[in-house]
């Protein structure tokens, strides 16, 4: 099983790297947000899947990443994408710590509502304070340089589907590996233990709130990296990124792929983005079908697509 997973991961990565030579530029501009969401969901699921805390406000950190990229590139003139990622990630962690300090005192639905409240607080700040944030139009995001290289000879699409795409897939691989190490470290085990039985793990010496605070901050960092990529892809950071329905979409992706599995949310991100864009192409009533899909997943396949795949795998092997 373990080697099978390893092979599958390497094959998927190779496929992602090979995609631009197979697919048209249009589809690559679709894969790019999927990669961005995959990175954000790696972080989101550290909190949701492994720590057992459902945040309904993580769009806040995606928005911090996006606005971070916007402010750094168009207002402060910082070009280096590495610097943009680090600074907006740091901003997201700084925003996450006070929220986490308050929220980790709660669990379950109260945690969800509190994070939603903070998300909406940030959204109304972005939306209403026109002078600072550009209001409903948001802020433009300029093209960054990658490792100091500006790729001046490429036009916008060529840059996005070319160097930027490879860069982001590489980032997904690196951040995915780091997250894999995090969840399999003693720290990750602490999180899982406190999810399974908070009181018992406290008796055993797990500093539940502190570890949850750290997990919250890490997840905010990942979401900000995803948000920065999203913003560069669209060239714009706008307040809708922080809206509560966007947080809902993050949860949707995690459940669609299966949050009990490390790779589930990644599968969910890719499936969601393609499902959404295909549905939008077919009908203007895509929300209805998206909602229906979610109901089917929640009611019939609560372990998500990966869970479904695992069931099929075991059934095949038994025969």
């Amino acid at each position: 099983m373990r080697t099978a997973v390893g092979v599958l991961v390497l094959a998927s990565l190779a496929a992602l790297f090979a995609l631009p030579s197979v697919l048209s530029a249009y589809y690559i501009t679709l894969v790019l947000p999927a990669v961005a969401y995959a990175i954000a969901l790696l972080g989101f699921n550290l909190l949701f899947g492994y720590t057992g805390l459902l945040s309904f406000g993580h769009a806040l950190y995606v928005a911090v990443g996006a606005y971070g990229a916007a402010v750094l590139s168009s207002k402060l003139g910082i070009k280096s994408f590495e610097l943009v990622l680090l600074l907006s990630g740091a901003a997201a962690v700084a925003a996450a710590i006070p929220v986490a300090l308050l929220s980790v005192r709660y669990e379950k639905i109260f945690f969800g509502i509190l994070t939603l409240a903070f998300g909406m607080l940030f959204h109304s700040f972005l939306f209403k304070f026109y002078d600072i944030t550009g209001g409903d139009t948001g802020i433009r995001v300029l093209r960054p340089s990658l490792f100091g290289n500006e790729f001046k000879d490429l036009d916008k699409t060529a840059f996005l589907v070319g160097p930027f795409y490879y860069y982001c897939v590489g980032l997904l691989a690196v951040l995915g590996f780091v997250m894999w190490r995090i969840v399999h470290s003693p720290f990750g085990l602490h999180l899982v233990a406190s999810r399974e039985n908070r009181r018992k793990s406290e008796y055993l010496g797990v500093r539940v709130r502190f570890f949850r605070l750290i997990a919250f901050s890490i997840s905010a960092f990942y979401c900000a990296v995803g948000g920065a990529i999203l913003a560069i892809n669209t060239g714009q950071a706008d307040p809708e990124l922080a809206y509560w329905t966007h947080s809902g979409e993050l949860v949707f992706m995690a459940v669609l792929g299966g949050f009990a599995n490390f790779f589930g949310p990644l599968v969910g991100a890719f499936t969601f983005i393609f499902l959404k864009s295909e549905l939008m192409g077919i009908t203007q009533f895509w929300r209805f079908w998206l909602g229906l899909t979610l109901i089917v997943i929640v009611v019939l396949f609560p372990r998500g697509l990966v869970g479904l795949g695992q069931d099929l795998w075991t059934r095949l092997h038994r025969q």
Binding site: K108, K128, V255, L292
Partner: protein
Amino acid sequence: MTSFFDIVLGGVFHAAVLFLVAAGLQLVFGVQKIVNLACGSFYALGAYFGISAVNWAIAAGVPPALFLPVLVLSGILLGAIGPFIEALLLTVYKRDEAFQLLLTFALVLMFQDVLRYFWGANPQQLGDIATQYGKIVVGTLQVPTYNVLVILASIAIALGIGAFLQKTNFGRILRATAENREMALALGVNVRVMYASVFTLGTMLGTVGGALVVPTAAASLDMPVELVVEAFAVVVIGGLGSMRGALVGALIVGLMRAAAISWYAELEMLAIYLVVIVVLVFRPAGLFGKAVE
């Protein structure tokens, strides 16, 4: 003086409508322990359906002055969707909260397109039908009669729910079920029927609230998602599951919103959510909620 009075009246009017939706949310949370994100969708559905119902009624020869009963009736009739949605929620009662929340989130997405399908993407309005009822003039102060009627209707509904929960047998059984489901079940309460009726009542409160607001505001597709955040603020300030909390929370949110809009519009939602966070920090269970662990 006049402007201050207008702010208070506008705030109380908004609070009256918010209370109805929040009361529905509280009722469902109190009994089923489900936070229904789709409460805003019921509200918007009530608003759109109310517009159509009044237009049909007028076309069928009902005197326009009777639009208020028509609106209330349309809201109550719409409550008929309650049992069907409850039947869907039935599948997740024993599951993790994440699934319950996501199921109602799926309903939000679906209702968004149901509204778009039947009423189109443009905001709908009922025209200035509310002026039919004229104004109440006290000295220099003027109040639209319709707004006063809605406030009175909301107070009547609040008292009605209170009496229903405290004085009737059904209400007592309902509270007992909310308190201890297993015990109620063991004592022979038909929990299935209880859940379906509670959810239907909760739905009706939302749809009636939406129907009552359309004579004064347009119905738009942003309505459901925007109302949810306000209704959430109300129940968090008041305390999840508490009816008195819904009342006080609605007044706080309604008045603050009205005050913020007229004095410093940038602060509208920000002010409300600051209150939410302050309440959660100092009184995590809300003003009237039961303590949480």
